[in-house]
Structures are given as structure tokens and as C-alpha cells.
Symmetry: D3
Subunit: 147 residues, 6 copies
């Protein structure tokens, strides 16, 4: 679980893929209740019948929270999150879709503020069971340089 | 609740502020259970005593989901989300902190792809009870232009 | 969100209608778990097949809690709840039904105990997607009189 | 659990008392998430410090749902709910209060519409650990008359 | 609810059966979130299509927790749990199955350590709507002997 | 995450230890709501003040479900659970305790029914922050023998 890795241990193009998880109606209800966002897009099956989607669509914040949560299988005690860039939701997530997350190291740069750390850009792609990308972003984190 | 606004109705510098919400231990446990991220940072009070934080800290994805959720009080049927930029977590959120969200329109631009829409940049700041920013990002959304 | 209104600002016959919300199996399970009422009427699909309903029916307390919750979109800081009268459940709520709430001001009376306040009677109707009333009651609240 | 009782089996003045249950911060958060009512009265500890209550207070709908839920320990297959009258909330419920429910049969009347049934009025009192009534109402239900 | 029984009040072969409860997709999601076990067996409908089960299967710990929970309808203040033996899961539980629990007293023995108590062995069987046993174990508890 | 291991890969005395998790009041409430067991031992802080425990104690089924859940970090696709033996709860778990699980391989035996598999006995110990064992059992599982 703990897997210490220095900045120098990361490799451009390195990939990791998570288990899948079926997004259920329960997840929709839990997320609405967790965030307080009960907009009809997510909660009113009748109203959504009349839209191009034809059905309820997931909160973007849920796809983000669960998509990132799926990657939480090991801890690098030498790294910490700096932020996220270019968060996009190219396709909706529907009840019953099964998503998983694919990670690729796409940038390894010096950190402009900290000589002791390097900056890692990890491309995040959440895909559904049809192989469509439903969420894309870049996760930026910093890892300690080896001595 | 529904409040239709065209792109031309938005004003640079316009602000909106939400109600506050106290982030509870329950929210930590619900978010871990919702996302599957049970890392000790969020769940192990004993282990966190030995860190500079001294206690459990919120998942960044939770601060984002609840911070954005707090803003879900009215729907503009003429607008939709494009994405989020520069998502950062300048300060940790602890159990018992009370957060609210402040929104400011900071950009009104033509949409490069759609002549029918304009692109709105809304600065998002989630603040705690001490006035510290615990989350910052830009929300980018598109709104229909008036005829 | 905060919308201060004095007793004199309310008008007989004034109406308000909420967004819709689809009542899910999740809501049934959450309500059972929240209240501790796991009676077969709400939880045992097999046993309910043999009844005239043919399926599980919602807890009355859930229809009340969600039906009232749907109305929680603005706060009148000059008013507070006195109570509820004539709470009835004319039709069952089934999993998958979509409900919304309609409010009508049906009474504006002096408060017998407080000269400073008036008593407002608001008729509450929760309706399903077929337009049937599934819950009816009167919400009684008090609002400050103007100076 | 199933305990069939005819209308004639009920006795005026008969009482029943439930187990106690401590109302936790978790219950507040669950109820807000279940109903969508995130008003600061229930969710914002900072804002409530400045009020006469000094702290968050429970949703009335929660006190009702849990107070009634506590009574759900046996089923009379010969009876069904008609409705509730005079629902009042004489005192607030705070996080950490322990409540239980006391029931007293206060009315046994013919049902005006159904010769086959009698109408039972059961006084409901939810009390806290200081013996204060935090919720009062009358539960009206109908039970089959003995052949 | 409280039903005090001494060791001598228990009878070999005595049985008790609980209400039924339909195990929902919500229960799967809640249990994963409660325990942190998001293994694909329970959470990934796509991956499970390719297995002999053809669908998601319940966590064994959930069948145990809910199967035992169903029996929690009365308290013997003179008894306490010693442990469980031979916990087995002969059949999977699927979403939509309705389970109930059957209890049989199969052993009444002196407690080797406490002359004041007797040891009761209660056979636990959780059955689904087809009468198949999905969980079996022995619950061992101790009850006070009559003076 | 997937880590295929044949029976022959297991070693007597091999140990594994999990992350810690603080058991919160939320977990108590979630478990009661998940299982339907709202007995005062777990839910009534007032009543428990008068007992030797002085406070609410965790459901045994929760300590089991979370204690086992903590171990769900990798999947051996060549193994499956046979059952659990000698489940005991030597000490209570209180709100605020931090638990983790320690696993030791204590038995490697031929499976009496399947020549293709071996039977693994894994001792499970759930410990609190004071190093006290709060749950003990043996997990029995079967793993494929190497060709």
C-alpha cells in the first residue's frame, strides 16, 4: 500500500489502470445528498425524458470524485497533490454505466518553486464500458527528488 | 429556481455568495464510502496525530464536490458547464470547519467554436470560517447569446 | 435565498411549485435505515407481491420529509413554523414515482397569542407523475407583522 | 412482531414507551442529504452561534420521522394509518440529545365512513433526556372491528 | 422488546423466524462504502457478466450483518454473545433476493468458566426467496442461570 | 491489485497488516441503519451511561465487517473464501477507537474435498490503538494448487 517513489522513479508514458465500478442510482442519490445538489438533471427521471439525454445524468463532481477515488490504491509518502488542470466531461455518465480510470504520466518537470521536488503531470481518463472518455483532466503532483 | 440568463446578461465583476455548511466527521466518512478512498489522511485519527496537520484532513474531491454543490441554488436553462481550470487546495479542511463559496464573474469571451454562445469564466473560492481560501478554481461555462 | 417577507406580504391564493424528484429504491433503504422502520411494507418485495399494492410502498414519514424538503429553497428570516395539520396520505408512493410539491396560501389570520405576528396557513400537496395527490397537509407558520 | 388486534382490543389510556435513541450529528447530515434541506439552521454551526439556540437544531421532519420510527416494533395486520393531527415541535432537538417516544390511546371512536372499522386516536409524545416534549401529535388509525 | 429469560427458559428445538428483507443494489453500495471493500465481485456489473455468477454478488460480511440484524427484535438483558462458529456462505446473494433468518436452539450446555451461566447454541440460517440457505453459522451466547 | 498466488506460494507464519481506521459515531449510525439493529447498546448514550461500559459499544457485526473490509486491498483470483471459525469479540469497540487488522497464515492443509486446492487458515486479529484485540477469528480459504 505504501510505495515510496522519488521523482526520479517516475517514467514518461508509464500507465496504470483501475478496477471498474458500476455507477448506480444509489450513487446518484448519495451524491445529491452529500453535496446538496438535487437539480432535476440528476434527480428527476420524468423531466429528463423530455431532454436529448432521455434520462438522468451524473453530477460532474461525482464522476470526478469516484473517478479519482478509484485510483486510491497505493500511497506514495514522498508525493502530494498540487492541483488539477483542464477538467472536462466529454460524455455524460448514466445510471448503470461501468467506469474505470486510466492514468498516464505525461510530464516530468522541475518544480519552479521547490528545488527539492519535481512536478509530475498525470493524465487522467475516466472511461465507460463502451470505451468512451467521460472525464478528462491532468493531475499535477509533486514528488521529492532523490537526495 | 429556473432563472434564464443570456450571455449578455452576465456582468464582469458580478458576485454571488452561498450559505455556509459545517463539514462534519460524517461528511468525511460518507465521502470515503462514496469514493472508496479510505487513505489514513482522511480516516485514521491516530496516524494523523503524528503529522504536521495533527488531525484528519478532508479529501480534495470532497471540498470540490461540496463547495460546488453549495452553489446549486438556481438553474440557468440557457447555460451548461464546459469545465474547470486551475483547481487548487491552498489550505486543508478539518472536521468542524464551516465553509461557504464565493463566485465572481472574471471573464466574458466569445466561444471559439460556437458563434451562438459566449464563454463565461467564474472564479470559485471556497472559504473557511477564518476567511482562508481552502479551494480555488475557475468554472468555465457557456451561455446562449441573445438572438 | 434569504427573502424577508412580513405577514402583510403574503397573499391569499398565492402558489408555489417545486422541482420534481424521482423516489428511488435507495430512498426507501435510506429512510428505513434513518428511522429504524424496516417493516415488510417498505422492505420486502416478495411479501408485498401478495398484497393489493403488489410492491413495496414508501414510508409516510418519508413522503412527508422529502415532500417538505423539496420546498426548502428560500428562507424567510421573519417567519417560523408553528406546526402541521390534517396530514394525510391519499395514495401510496411506489419506487420510481416522481413527486413534486405544490403550495397555496389558504389562510391569513391574526395570531391569537402574539399581536406582533400573523398566522399563515399554507396548503401542501405532494403529487406524483400522474397528477395524483400522495400527501396533503396544512403547514401553519407565523410571520412578523410590519411595524 | 405481528400482533393482530381488533378495535375492541384497544383500551383508553393504554400506554407504550420505546427505547431511546441519541440523535447524532450524523442524523442531521443524513436527514439533510435525504430531504435536500441544507438550511443553515441545521447545517451551519458558525451561523447558529449567533442565534438564541447557540447551535444547530434538528429538522422538524427528522424528529417526526425518527420519533415515529422508534415505535415501529410490532405490526397490527388489522390496522392502517389514517393520518396525523396537530403536529407541533414545542422544543428544539440538539445534537447529542437522546429521545424516546411515548404513546397513549386517547380516543376510540366509530369510523364515520366504515362500519367495519373503529378509529383510534393515539397521542404521540417524543421526549428528550430532560423529560421535555420535543414533538407532539395525534396519530389516527383505523382497526377492524371484531366480526 | 426487553424479554428477560434465564438459561432454564430456553428449550432445545425452539425456533424463531424473522421478517423478510429484499437485498437491494443500495445495500451493496452502502456495504462497500461502509467497509471499504469495492472489489469487482460486488461493484462491477460488467466484469461479473463474464463469470459463472453472471452478476454482482453480495459481500459475505453483508449477508452476515443483515442476516443477524434481522434477528434484533427483542433484548434478553440476562444474556450476552460469546461468539460465532462455522460461518459459511453456501449460496451467493444477488441484488433483488429477499432473505430472512431462521433460528433454532440446538445446544444447551453448562458454561465451562462460569457456574452462574449456561451456554446456548443457536443455529442461524439465512434463506433466500427460493428457500436456499445463503448463510449458516452457530451463534453462541451465555444466559444467567436462575438463582 | 490482482495478485495471483497458488496454494504453494503461501508460507506458514506469513503476516500482513492493514492501514488504521478510526471508528466514528457515523459508523455506528450507518451500521444500525444498514442492519436494522438499533438496540440501545449501540444507539442510546444515556442508557449506556448506567452500564459498566459507560458509553455506546459497536455492533459485533460492524467490527467484523470493517475489520475484514480493511484487508480488501488485493485480490487473489486463484482463491475463494470457505468460511470463518471461532469469531470472538474479546473487547468492546468505542466511538473514536482506531482499529487495524493483522493477518497471519497459521494453517496450510490439503482440502479434504478438492485435490486441486489447498486450505489456508489465516488468523485474523483486529486491534485498537491500545494494542488490545477487539475481534479474533480464523478465515478459511481455498487456493488452487499449482498444476
Amino acid at each position: 500500500m505504501d510505495r515510496p517513489r522519488h521523482f526520479e522513479d517516475y517514467v514518461l508514458g508509464e500507465t496504470r489502470s483501475t478496477y471498474g465500478r458500476t455507477i448506480t442510482e444509489t450513487d446518484f442519490v448519495v451524491h445529491a445528498g452529500h453535496t446538496g445538489d438535487f437539480f432535476p438533471h440528476h434527480m428527476d427521471a420524468e423531466a429528463m425524458k423530455a431532454t436529448p439525454f432521455g434520462q438522468r445524468i451524473a453530477h460532474g463532481t461525482m464522476t470526478f470524485a469516484i473517478g479519482i477515488g478509484l485510483t486510491a490504491s497505493e500511497i506514495n509518502p514522498l508525493a502530494f497533490t498540487y492541483g488539477y488542470e483542464r477538467l472536462r466531461f466529454p460524455k455524460p455518465v448514466f445510471i448503470g454505466d461501468t467506469i474505470h480510470t486510466e492514468l498516464t504520466i505525461t510530464g516530468l518537470d522541475p518544480d519552479p518553486k521547490r528545488a527539492t521536488h519535481g512536478r509530475i503531470t498525470e493524465q487522467v481518463r475516466v472511461l465507460n464500458q463502451r470505451g468512451e472518455t467521460v472525464l478528462a483532466c491532468d493531475h499535477i503532483y509533486l514528488a521529492e527528488r532523490r537526495g
